[in-house]
Amino acid sequence: MVPPAALCIHLCIGQAYAFSVFSLPMTMLLGIRHSVPGDWRLTDIGWIFTLGIFFLGVSAAILGRWVEEGGPRRAMFTAALCFAGGFLISAVGVYAHRIWVIYLGYGVLGGFGLGIGYISPVSTLIRWFPDRPGMATGMAIMGFGGGALIAAPLSVWLLKQFSTPTHVGVAETFICLGLIYFCFMLVGAFIVRVPAPGWQPAGWTPPATPAKLVTTADVHVYRAIKTPQFWLIWCVLCLNVTAGIGVLGQASPMSQEIFPGRVSATAAAGFVGLMSLFNMAGRFGWATFSDLIGRKNTYFCFFVLGAVLYALVPTTGAIGSVTAFVVCFLIIISMYGGGFSTIPAYLKDMFGTRYVGAIHGWLITAWSAAGVFGPVLVNYIRQYQIDHGVPKAQAYNLKMYIMAALLVVGFFCNLFVRPVHARHHLREQEPASSAPGAAPVPPAPTAAN
């Protein structure tokens, strides 16, 4: 029951990826058919999503330990309240035409719902599936990618139902979505269960000699974030996400500009849809594959294959092969998704199960950083090249090579990841709430890996 419970949460909060559906309608709240003076600009509305992702990272980091210690049900219920509450407050903001109310609603409160919801099922899933932690977390985080596939058509349909010649219908759509998501997330909170202490799948016994990079000990969250391993994995995630997020938002214009006259706006929309599907499928597929080949090797695949594919993209444009271009990006975007879903299992391998949710929360700040860094990098490079006379069809080439270079840096960060030293491991009798900064605890004799 835990995978569906986790999916209940992630399918809802994954709506964040489809928020752009509201961008255009929200610029016409006063003018209805077109923007008029006093209507919000696209840049104003863009801040709503940016704030949401920023507070996703902030809340996951500062509330990770609270989530871990209080259990998944309390966290999921809180996430439901925050996420749905964000929609309801935003509806008030739309009704009163006050953008700051929406920043507070969807951006801050909704962002907290995103962060708490994102990490809430992670450690529970890992405890239920100690034999296949990658597959378990991949299944949940796949939901975050799939959420947009549901939210986009649902939001468009709701907007159509509530719009009239004198009204756009955004506020009503927000209220409906808030109520639907609240009920859906409550079901997740209701059916989630934690395993009994020491629970193991039938017929499974832990390997007598764990793999070199898989620990059987636990590391406290505040010790984990002081280890070089944490920051190397932080860079691994940040670089993988930066490379993916930079092109994800520009897939539609990029495909049309690289193949002018051959890829229409409608076809480009289809390309974006395919990318969403591969983003979702990659989350499950790559994380499951990581159970077979190990987390470190999975990230090596991302960085080597990703760098090669990015370097090939300019060639696909030069030879005019739309198929090769599409294939390159579908594989790239599957690895972008796979990067998110493989990370919790990587953390579990390095730092143990006990605080994996809280450590994962801190690591999510890498996503927030990449969310700012990636699009800025991509947009700035493209604009710089166009300003200097580079044709639009070739303005993406340098960007692709820079993305490939970022992945090469990520390769070396991953290469330097070593097992955590035993001095960081928790002793068996150490209390779960041991204060950060407490005197170092000598390692348990059996904890070394």
Partner: protein
Amino acid sequence: MSDPRTRKTLPIELILAWGFVGIPLLWGIAMTLASAVKLFE
């Protein structure tokens, strides 16, 4: 009263739970595939 952590999940509960998340997800995938087909037209 049995410990909910050790209670075996009934097949009907599993079907309902997976249906609850699977049906909307399949609907979303179908809608996305319908739009993606236009790439190949």
